[in-house]
């Protein structure tokens, strides 16, 4: 159980409308990711759902009943905050127990759930520490533990991994994904990292300045971005956008081609350029190429090692079936 439905929900802070009226349905058990640039209203939207902010107009249904005026604690949702928001003066055990204590659960039930959560999250050895004595990843897990024990109908995550370093982020990402698989509870997850969005989501909601730009599965967004904004936002490195003659030649004012969709050669190809920086990762080679007509800096990704270096000339051929075409408004043209 955990279907969430926003009907014409809008939010203004004073005179500033941060979220224009918006409709969105999140299905039960779905992993939905809100993604978008900083300040686009992701957190606000999440907090509206949580009940931490009052909505200015519209209404929110949770599991089919109107929850617009239900206080946060009563909505059956659990939230994991960017700063973790652990209670610094309580031990890990007390942190996790807190929502249950507030709900007045019997002590043995509390302990049972704490043990279960700690086991699932690998926290058993740390139950008596204070948050200050934990590493970032451990804190993040405590925050999740605190959310899990409430057995909520949906989890809300606000950029839960943004304070972790790259390696940990990958690990925690997997843990959350696995948690979702195991619990099959609705999860709404806010991030501005498109990799997280792509790897975790069942459904991605791309936001810009409070507007929903596109809703779809990760691969839908990858293959069929509705506009240049989504195209640029999804995929890493970013899609190359080419304007001008080369684009017109391919039937649109702007064409887009992802870095991984080129055939690369040192001898011949459709376009010619000079390598600025060549990044050799072993598994891949990223080339940053200058001098291609219609595009100042073209990024190209080649699998494995390509022995080229700064200053070399290089030839590129875009794979025709992987081209994206956009009209002058930036909207996708099929």
């Amino acid at each position: 159980m955990g279907q969430i439905k926003l009907n014409q929900v809008s939010k203004s802070f004073g005179d500033v409308q941060v979220i224009p009226p918006l409709d969105l349905t999140i299905e039960d058990g779905e992993f939905t990711v809100f993604v978008g640039p900083s300040g686009c209203g992701k957190s606000t939207l999440l907090r509206l759902i949580a009940g931490l902010e009052d909505i200015t107009s519209g209404h929110i249904d949770i599991d089919g009943t109107d929850a617009t005026h239900v206080p946060p604690a009563k909505r059956g949702l659990a939230m994991v905050f960017q700063s973790y928001a652990l209670y610094p003066h309580m031990s890990v055990r007390k942190n996790i127990a807190f929502p249950m204590k507030m709900a007045g659960l019997p002590a043995d039930e509390q302990n049972r759930r704490i043990e279960a959560a700690a086991k699932a999250l690998n926290l058993t050895d740390y139950l008596d520490r204070r948050p200050g004595q934990l590493s970032g990843g451990q804190r993040q897990r405590v925050a999740i533990g605190r959310a899990i024990v409430r057995e909520p109908s949906a989890f809300l995550f606000d950029e839960p991994l943004s304070n972790l370093d790259a390696a940990l982020r990958v690990g925690m990402r997997l843990e959350i994904s696995e948690l979702h698989k195991r619990l099959a509870t609705t999860m709404i997850y806010v991030t501005h990292d498109q990799v997280e969005a792509m790897t975790m989501a069942d459904k991605i909601v791309v936001l810009r300045a409070g507007y929903i730009e596109q809703v779809g599965t990760p691969l839908e967004l990858y293959y069929k971005p509705r506009n240049e904004f989504v195209a640029g936002f999804i995929g890493s490195p970013k899609m190359n956008l080419i304007k001008g003659a080369e684009a017109e030649a391919r039937g649109a004012p702007t064409i887009g081609i992802r870095p991984e969709h080129f055939d690369v050669s040192t001898t011949e190809g459709a376009w010619e350029g000079t390598i600025g920086v060549a990044e050799h990762l072993g598994s891949d080679t990223f080339l940053h190429i200058h001098g291609v007509a219609g595009c100042d800096a073209m990024t190209v990704r080649v699998d494995g090692e390509l022995p080229v270096k700064h200053g070399d000339r290089i030839f590129l051929t875009p794979q025709a079936d992987k081209l994206h075409r956009f009209d002058s408004q930036g909207l996708r043209v099929e």
């Binding site: 931490l52 946060p72 939230m79 700063s83 928001a85 209670y87 610094p88 807190f98 507030m102 605190r146």
Partner: protein, 288 residues
Amino acid sequence: MATQHSRSAARLMMAPAVVLLLGWMLIPLTMTLYFSFKKYLPMRGGDLGWVGFDNYVRFVTSSAFWPSVMTTLIIVGGVLAITVCLGIVLAILLNQPMWGQGFVRILVIAPFFVMPTVSALVWKNMFMDPNYGLFAYLWEFFGATPVQWMSQASLTSITIIVSWQWLPFATLILLTAIQSLDREQLDAAEMDGAPASKRFAYITLPHLGRAITVVILIQTIFLLSIFAEIFVTTGGAFGTKTLTYLIFQRVLESQNIGLGSAGGVYAIILANIVAIFLMRIVGKNLDA
């Protein structure tokens, strides 16, 4: 950040402050110790020779000694309790959204700027005077017999006056502390189902712990030596004689420097007991 060079520079830069304070502590302290073993009566010829621990024995065995220690602790404790509790309430209040917050803060901070002498005079004469004080009118207005503040509720009166002076300090530090509370923690607690009262008890109050210790430490340092408030209001009568005041009487009213100095040494000991106790807490809090 710790090369040999910077460490020696640090020692050099710390030297003036340390040397000055060491002098400020040792020179008077040595002189006080010296006097405390002497029969020293300026009115009767000054230095009348060594007397060993006589002054110390006399000072503690005097009937005024223990009551004065108690009085000191009651005033300090009372003021701390009032300022911290009211300070928390006020800090929370001032942290609420309202109009004219800055203005209210100006009002609340004002007592802190008032000289202790002036505030004691104002309170004693214009508020607590049983005949002309505003409180007397107020009590009469409600048909009650005016309280004779300075005589019958003397400790309470002094505690009120001193609390009034220190309330702004406590409020401001606690307010700053409250404002530093991570908003997300309160949100999290709200999501976790804690109503406002429990959010206060479980989140806000523990968060203020550190600030409260600091308030207590700083205020204790100042409160242990309050003098003007007592001098101006009761002159030590009606059980308001603190240790400081008792020493004052011995030194200046009785002109018994030896005895007063012995008292001074006791006061230093008392202050340091309190200080060590407090600093343990704060010291721990400082790194945390």
